[in-house]
Every structure is written in structure tokens, then in C-alpha cells.
Amino acid sequence: MASEFTMRVWRGDISGGEFKDYRVEAQEGMVVLDVIHTIQATQAPDLAVRWNCKAGKCGSCSAEINGKPRLMCMTRMNLFEPGETITISPIQTFPLLRDLVTDVSFNYEKAKSIPALKLKAKEADGTRRMYQDDVDRVQEFHKCIECFLCQDVCHVIRDHEDNKPEFAGPRSFVRLASLEMHPLDEEDRREFLKSDAGLGYCNITKCCTEVCPEGIHITDNAIIPLKERVVDAYYDPVVWLMNKLTGK
């Protein structure tokens, strides 16, 4: 049950490039990454692509497939009509290195700046007690595979390069939410969220949630609760007055 496709793949680097067409036969069950590998093995051995697990668990093979941010390893070829031309381009929000590979160091730099976990004291018996109900919501955030598709699609940085220094992006917010909602964490990250991470830039269009391959409800479960925390701290008149009076 093999079908033939034309894969229109971006080839090039920072100095320029173009889409090149490759005719490929896709066997039953193949995903886009398999087809890219076939092109490498038979037509373009130096075609640059990042990948590791090929099972949707490592988040390395992010690309834009017909303009949509997706993991190549989790995109089945049977989504497309035989004979169709499928366009594969690198994710756009980050600087191109070569072909389908981009420089995603932005995300690692942002991760360095996030205030770490600070756990409260252990129980009297020396253990840590947490209940499944309490960890459930944080475990959702820990599902993140750091594919950075949410960062790619976020128009705050996709369309405005100059926002990058002030905006940490949805991936960082998921991480921040996981720390803020950790049942035993004591750190206060509200000032960081407001001033350093640029949470206010997000106008909850939910683009990030739509592309998340792990199905994390980024906007509803991470970003909106974080916004509420910041609002409570900085814009609640009662809290504001209390802070003034107590000199905080």
C-alpha cells in the first residue's frame, strides 16, 4: 500500500535557500519523519534534521508541515492524499541553522532565569507527603516534552522579534505554573512573572494550546491561573492597601 508524494523541503541556511522537491514513496504506516529519513538515505544525505526518539517523547523533530507546527514523528502520511505536495519548513520563530534545524537556545536561556523550586520543611517523620489530587494538575505540566511548538506559534515572539528579551513564552509559563502549583513550593514568582517573564504580553488566543502535541491546556490551566496570581498580588485594591500599610 505504498503511495507516492512530493515532499517540498526547505534547503538552505542563514545566507539563503529554497524549497526543493523530492518524489518519495511512503509505505503503509509511515510518518513524515520516516519520509525525511528516506530522502536522506537515498537522495540528499546531508539534509539536516533534528530527531531522537521517533515516538513523540523527546520533542526534537518540530517543523512546520504545510504551515502547521507539528512533530514530524507523530504526523502520519495517511493524513495526506496520495500525490499531494507536502511542504516541510523549519519552525519560523527561531534562527535558521540549516535546512530543518533551527537555533532554539532562546528557550534554554529563558529556562536559566526561572526561579528554582524551594521546598518547605519536611514532615516531622522526615517524609514528604503529597496527595494524588494535589499532584495531578502539576503532572499535566510535567508532560511537556520541550518541542517548543508553543513558542513557535506564539505571535508575541513569532511576529515581533523585539519582544523576545521581555517575553518568556508559553513553554516557560508551563514550567512556571508547575513550580508555582507544586504542593510543597514556597517561592514567590509573581514579580518575576510580571516583570521578567512578560506574562502580560499574552492575550490568551490559545494558539499554543492548539499545537501542543501532549495536549497540555497551556492557556486555561497554566497561563490564566498565573495571570490571576499576578493580578491578585498587584492589582487587587485590598492587597495593594495592605502592602502600602505594611510597607511591602
Binding site: 541556511d13 509505505q27 503503509e28 504506516g29 509511515m30 510518518v31 520516516d34 536522506q40 538515505a41 537515498t42 544525505p45 546531508d46 539534509l47 539536516a48 534534521v49 533534528r50 530527531w51 531522537n52 526518539c53 521517533k54 515516538a55 513523540g56 517523547k57 523527546c58 520533542g59 526534537s60 507523530m74 502520519r76 541553522l97 540549516r98 535546512d99 534545524v101 537555533d103 532554539v104 534554554y108 529556562a111 536559566k112 528554582a116 523550586l117 521546598l119 517524609t127 514528604r128 507527603r129 503529597m130 496527595y131 494524588q132 499532584v135 502539576v138 503532572q139 510535567h142 508532560k143 511537556c144 516534552i145 520541550e146 513550580l179 507544586h182
Partner: protein, 601 residues
Amino acid sequence: MANDKYETHEYDVIVIGAGGAGLRAAIEASAAGVKTALICKSLLGKAHTVMAEGGIAAALRNVYQEDNWKVHFRDTMRGGKMLNNWRMAQLHAQEAPDRVLELEEWGALFDRTKDGRILQRDFGGHRYARLAHVGDRTGLEMIRTLQQHAVHKGIDVYMECNIQRLLKDGDRVCGAFGYWRESGKFVTFKSKAIVLATGGVGKAWKFTSNSWEYTGDGTTLAADVGADLIDMEMIQFHPTGMVWPNSVRGILVTEGVRGDGGTLRNSEGERFMFNYITDYFRAETAETEEEADAWYEDKTNNRRTPDLLPRDEVARAINAEVKAGRGSPHGGVLLDIASRRSAEYIARRLPSMHHQFKELADVDITKEPMEVGPTCHYIMGGVRVEADTAATTVPGLYAAGEVAAGLHGANRLGGNSLSDLLVFGRRAGLYAAQYAQNLEGHPSPDADQIEQYAQELLAPFNNDGGENPYTVHMALQDCMQNLVGIIRTESELKKAQTEIASLKERLAKVTVEGHRQYNPGWNLALDLQSLLTTAEATTMGALERKESRGGHTREDHPGPDPDKYGKINLVLRRKDGELSLSEEPLPEMPDDLKELFEESK
């Protein structure tokens, strides 16, 4: 550093590989106060640890009070068919609980018991529910926790940097040389001590659960500077990999499916594992389906289901069922949890399996059985290390995790890998740091040597009219899959040796197109050198070990040979460029530990 031709960095300790073992080693070395760097082939957080599913084995005693390190130690040794280094198995069982609790301190959120402690799940070969886990994505939780901890500690990380050679000063190592994938440019690391944490070798086989990174780099780097390798014939074929569609063949299906109640059936619907209980495990294995099913709830009065025999046993059984014509439509067997557990339970306990089968195979595992078959998963053998310090036989060189050998003997139990990474990653980092602290002066690699290596690495660009590296890689994978697979025999192993020799010649002429910047063809051509070295080592060991034990099954020597091969490690070392093999006796277990095996008989 004005004299250095290539980009050069200097450290006390460099750690090569950033999976669980490498991250844990770097954290420990850095905490000991030495200047530490972590170097990895991929982006940080993408290493193979991320794919581990089931859990971390540790006798935490949260679910079964009866558990303790001695029981875990005994399970590990018996699972490894007693070929294990007993001291490593002891340290591992004793220290694993602390290492798991430490992860919790650093932010890991494991699934919980009703009283708020870390929940533990059943796994093959473990007497009690022992695996700390997060659904079926424990490896992701572990690597992310370690990654974030390392980042917050300010450890220098060099990503997408591929180390190709270790550098020596006399007998000791003094650095490493490699290239940046991004630019293709060379880089030198001068270092007093080096920790290898490079993982396994699975990419030498066609059907494997391993990612592109698993090309035997560490084993080859170590062998090339004169370190000993042991047990290289011991390869684990995980019993349950996906078999269909062909393009995903080999992708792992967690043992947690069986740990959580799934059972293996053949095409006749029979739970065939009851027919494959060997005498070795008979006393501790359920004989009837009723007892096996009751065991999940009550381990005191029932024995373990044969579905959860150690992996080598289950893989051979599946292989035999398929050969006997009782396989599933695509050449595997059926793994059924749908008829045994509720859809809600399956989706909660095994979310990533649910997702994986739905997306990649159009199978809903809450409604239908999965088709599964053996897939090359893990190498028990590797670099020989001292149990307590993780030191190799070369001064300054340490190894931890899958690249190191000894802990798992002839077969690894599921869940013992993640705990291995933590226990021995920490030890390697600690002792590498101590070694570096005690060493005077600066590491000083030989510039001529570096230049020679640089020329070697560029050779594939200079060849004309040779094959492309992908063709050679596929030929190697076919060779190892067909001739050095689950069931081995002398004539096929000899044929494999001939083929590997001819592949080496083909590799010498391989031609790479394009330039050095992010060029996967060139990268593969270089990785093929280590793939071929490890393939050669595995085949040599497999030919020499004339018995069947754990991950090594010889059709022409079907039983174990307790008097000869049960008492020795096969040691490989490079002599004048060629690998040579010798036999050495296993370390002798002290009497108080021996008693643990006698009383259980």
C-alpha cells in the same frame, strides 16, 4: 590557549553524555566543587533516558513493608543469571531509595499512595511492587528534574557537541576531541578526569527501541584508549516492541502494561507464558491463571504471573511462539490489557502507550490488544568499572549508566536502569571529582595527536566515488539483526564476523556529500566507526560464550554451563589496534550475601 589550533576549553571534570547518568554525575562533580562540563550529542533533555517509561526500581517499602535492599539485590542477581558484579548489585539496591527521594527534593512528582507517599508498581523479576513511577513517562520526569537541577546549579552544558576521541597523557586521560554539529568545527576539552555516560549500542540492530544516538560511542572511546570491556555479548531484547506498522517496528511498549495487569496471548488466545516457566524460576512463579491474576492484589499468598518473568525469558518465549506459527497477523504476539482492566484505568496508568498506539498504529489499547514482539533494547555489557568508584581500567576515566557493565550481569530487570543511572552516575561524578582534586598541574594533550585525529575525522569528505554511509549502516543492521539476534549459533556468528570485516573496508571508502555544517551524512559516517567496533565486540563475545545465559542464547549450546562460563567474564581489550579476548573469574561474593540465595531455595 593561544597555541591551540581549535576551540579549546579546560575543566577538572567533563561528563560525556547528558542522560540520567551523565546529568547525575555532573551534578555530583559540580557539588564537590570542581569545574565541571556536561557535553551531549543532542539538545539537553533529549537523551535516551527521556524514553524510559515504567519506573525506577528502589526498595522504598511504601507499598510492601516486606521489601528491603536484600530482596532487591537477590532479584537483580537472579535476573542477571548470577553473572552480575555482586558489589555493584549490592550498592545499587542499598542506595536506590535515597536517590529516588533526592529526585523528589529536586522537584520530581511521582504518582502517590493513598497516604501521600511515592507509589510503586509491579515489574518483571521484582518480587514486590517496587518501581517509583509517573504514569508511563517516568524517564521524562527524571531527565527533566535532573536537567533543571543542573541548570539551576549553573553547570556548563555543551549541546550538540559530538566527542570522537579521548586524549591521553601517558597512561591517563587528559581530554577529549570532537566537533560541533551546528558548525562542523572541531573542539578540544582539556580535562583531568572524564566520565563516560554515553548510553548503548542499539542502532547496530534493525529493530530497536533506541534512538540515533545509541551508536556505542563510549564503549569505543574507552576501548580505543585501552580500557577493558566485559560481557559485550549480553544484549537485551525487550519482549514488547511495536511490530506494526513496519515503520514504527521496535518502538518500546512498556513492561508496565504487564505490571498493571496486561497478559500475553498467542493467535489461539492462549496465555502461553505458562508453557515457558523454566526450573530456575518455577518455585516463585504462578502455575495457574487464577493464581497469576490473584497475585496482582495479594502477593503474600500467590506467586508472580509468568507474564512478568525477566525479559530474556519472555523475549525467547515470544520468539518461539511466532516460530511455531502461533503469532499475530504481523509477526508478533498479542498483548491484551483491554479485556482485563477498565478503559479509565488504562488511560490513567498508561497514557503514553494509549497515545502512541492510537497515533501510530490506529489501535485503541483500551478496546483491542496490541501486537508486540522483541526489540533490541539494552546492552548489559560495556566498559568494565570498579564497583565502588565507577573507575575504568584507565586512570582518570570513569563510566556510568548503560555504557558501564557489571550491575546487570546477563540480563537487566526492568526499572533497574533508571536506578542504575542515579546510583552510579552519582558515584562516577563523586570519584571523578576526587581524582581531579588530587591531580597536580594542568591536563596537556598532545597537539600532534589532535591534528592526526582532525584529519581522520575529515577523511570521509576526501573519498571519491564510495558508498553513502546510510547504505553501510543498513547493511550492518541487517547483519546484526539476522546473525547476532536473540537466538545465535556458531555458523551465523562466524558469518557475521566476515560481514563486519567487509563493512569496515566499505566504511573506509564511504563518501560524504556537502559541507561540515549540520551534516547528518558525515555525522553517521563517524558514528559508524563506533557502531562497527561494538558490533565486532558483541560478535566476538557471543562466539566465545558457548552456553545460553540471560541475553545470550546459543541454539548450539542451549543450556547454561555453570562450571565454566557461569564463573567468568569475557574481557575484551585493544592490543595493537585489534580487539583481543580473555577470560577472567567473576568477583567472589562474600558468604553473608551467598546465604541470601541458599535460604530461598
